[in-house]
Point group: C2
Chain length 424, copies 2
């Protein structure tokens, strides 16, 4: 029987706090920046693991293709491009090395070279993002937006239950957790005005999303079926799709969001592999009224039970959790998104990111944006420090977290944590 | 007085046919693929010039920074990143070398190494495109579309005269002239049907556009003013924004075009620099009703008088010119587009492409898409071989050309020539 890196019985000789996202069953991948440059790395507990240091001491020799140019690299793209046969083998090898009783446990010199405290390193963008696509796949979110801005009786547009609606976003402005963003300037049309004004965004919002990272290239003209799609997904990150609601509202008809979104999107530094998320697979919402076209029909569990939460941390430091949602609420799953994305022959490439769209659940406490939480500002949120929030203010940090728990094992994403600075 | 590479009196010792786009006043840049790899190149008449061969023979030594890794490169990004002080100097140096009486004229060995017949080399993608943005800046095009799909009395949407409306496109599927594209499959909602169908696009269309290539990076959070914008534009290409009208119509509400566009966009291989286009500057349409916000106001001539035409070449070979338009018809100019794009702090990077949107003029013969030319298929085009076209058929080639003429000098883009293959 083959080795199972997800086995809940595995324990590590590295101390893993019970609330850590980085159990031995996780083994995510990211890029950390050290004095000597960028390194492909993994994590366990509060330790970052430098893969090149393991390789230099002979611990990864059973995996082919891991040369210095791959492991000492500014991005994971080359590593991911080795294919799942290699990256899964790396995850499995790391799992064995981290397990109680491994040879590495006794090798103090290599441990010193390869392990760094997470607090003391800088995590950077995990991938060079070629193209970024944002979907709109939470039914509750689309319904809430439709109720607010269109017809409450017909909140979903006619295409929504037939198509995993998506649009292209800006790849260049995706930044890693910890990178502050300035409140954007832009055009807005104030209510009742007859001409637009130029000024700072007044309705700055987050959107709680997850993004998947493409793990395998296609050629222009080729299609990925729903059944093949998981082979093309390397793993997932937390994704905050920052939105300037007032800029977006004025600009987005008829060609979609542009400056209301492209001033910045934030992702978590660790990519959790699809393999590590396998135990958290769960059923999807029924798609029977209407049933989608055959190219979007799937079998088996394609959703994931991943708890998600959003905190607002104001300058006072007294934070508040404003949203508790779950990735399982997605109506359209990632396999359907990828099959749809490529059904016309559009090519995808390693490092591309496809985000889910705002992940709202059915109840107010599970809504994934301030637009919905404050219902367009009509229901402000009381903060512990006595202030109120309709949208995000300068100096606020927005912190998103996500993790699955099953059989006593926790597998999570860490956080995406972004401070909003005043207009530059 | 400094050297003027645009001087109409300059003549070359290379033969330049009178209808050639590549006069000595042009000197565009592109990438050609030879047996030994990719090369930064220029063109004159029907000759491609391999820059590394000139450099190896000492002809570019007055220009700093032109090492082998820049000149033997799959893309122009590194070359463009040297900055206009360098790339303009290269253009000027090439102009001198190509002028009658230069030392190169007498150097048969270098000429043999550096000059290749245009017909015998493969031109490849000139830049690695990081992000691609498509604008919607022709008033006549936006008005035509508004008349057809919305209200003929209020064809322009309320934001159109205030904002250079744009949206993000797919960078990965931009291909160079000569790369055939397959007709896309996808979802469509037939008129009168109550459920969508899956099938081949029936309304495949071109859009006549020009694209500018970004020549200088900005940092996230920075803005480019209208006045600085030309410093950030390296040059222009012809751009065919292929569109599947039936797929687009069903999918695009509310977040914009996605699969209706991202199966492919085609560009010309030669980037004509902004410097070479300087003589073709012309006035812009009046923007006084309404006057745009101050950040979009500009001075001087910002439009370009560049004749554009589109031929359909059916399998019979009996082609027809279906559109004669001009880049000067743009309501929003490139400087306004770039100022708007970055006003919220969105970063741009060398190699990004911003396309104009369909460039339609005021009369039927100048409309830049079959949607407009055939007025949604109600006015089919008669082809010389007896066939008719409402949209593009399998086996058709669409060929776009563009050039300016002034004082007896012609500066042009060559062509973007794309064959449509059947569904794959």
């Amino acid at each position: 029987m083959s080795y199972n890196a997800n086995d809940p019985r595995l324990t590590s000789w590295v101390e893993v706090p019970s609330d850590s996202d980085f159990s031995i069953q996780n083994i995510p991948f990211g890029i950390c920046k050290m004095n000597d440059g960028f390194h492909v790395s993994s994590a366990i507990g509060n330790q970052v693991i430098i893969l090149s240091a393991l390789a230099e001491n002979g611990y990864l020799k059973e995996v082919e293709g891991l040369d210095d140019s791959t492991l000492k690299n500014e991005f994971l793209n080359d590593f991911i491009s080795l294919g799942k046969s290699v990256t899964s083998k790396v995850r499995e090898t790391l799992s064995k090395l981290l397990s109680v009783g491994s040879s590495l446990e006794q090798d103090a010199a290599t441990r010193k070279a390869a392990f760094v405290n997470m607090e003391s390193v800088e995590m950077t963008m995990p991938v060079r993002v070629g193209d970024y696509t944002d979907f709109y796949s939470s039914r509750d979110h689309a319904t809430n937006v439709g109720k607010m801005f269109r017809d409450p009786e017909n909140a979903l547009l006619p295409n929504w239950l037939h198509i995993p609606v998506g649009y292209h976003g800006r790849a260049s402005s995706i930044v890693v957790s910890g990178t502050p963003l300035h409140r954007p300037m832009g055009q807005q049309m104030p209510a009742g005005a007859d001409a637009p004004v130029y000024g700072a965004c007044k309705l700055l919002d987050f959107e709680l999303e997850m993004g998947f990272v493409v793990g395998k290239d296609t050629k222009l003209g080729d299609r990925i079926s729903v059944h093949e799609a998981e082979d093309y997904i390397f793993g997932l990150v937390l994704f905050n799709d920052w939105s300037a609601r007032d800029i977006q509202k004025w600009e987005y008809v008829p060609l979609g969001p542009f400056l209301g979104k492209n001033f910045g999107s934030s992702i978590s530094p660790w990519i959790v592999t699809l393999e590590a998320l396998e135990p958290f697979k769960t059923t999807s919402p029924a798609q029977d009224a209407p049933r989608p076209l055959p190219y979007l029909q799937f079998e088996g569990d394609k959703n994931y039970d991943i708890d998600l939460e959003v905190d607002i941390v104001p300058p006072s430091g007294e934070s508040k959790t404003v949203c508790r949602s779950n990735f399982k609420f997605m109506y359209w799953n990632m396999c359907q998104q990828l099959a749809h994305h490529t059904v016309n022959g559009c090519d995808v490439n390693v490092g591309d990111i496809c985000a889910s769209g705002t992940i709202s659940g059915p109840e107010r406490g599970s809504f994934g944006s301030m637009l919905e939480i404050s219902w367009r500002g009509t229901m402000p949120v009381d903060m512990p420090d006595g202030s109120v929030r309709k949208f995000i203010q300068d100096g606020d940090r927005v912190v998103m977290r996500g993790f699955g728990t099953k059989d006593g094992v926790r597998v999570g994403f860490g956080k995406v944590d972004t401070e909003i600075l005043p207009v530059k």
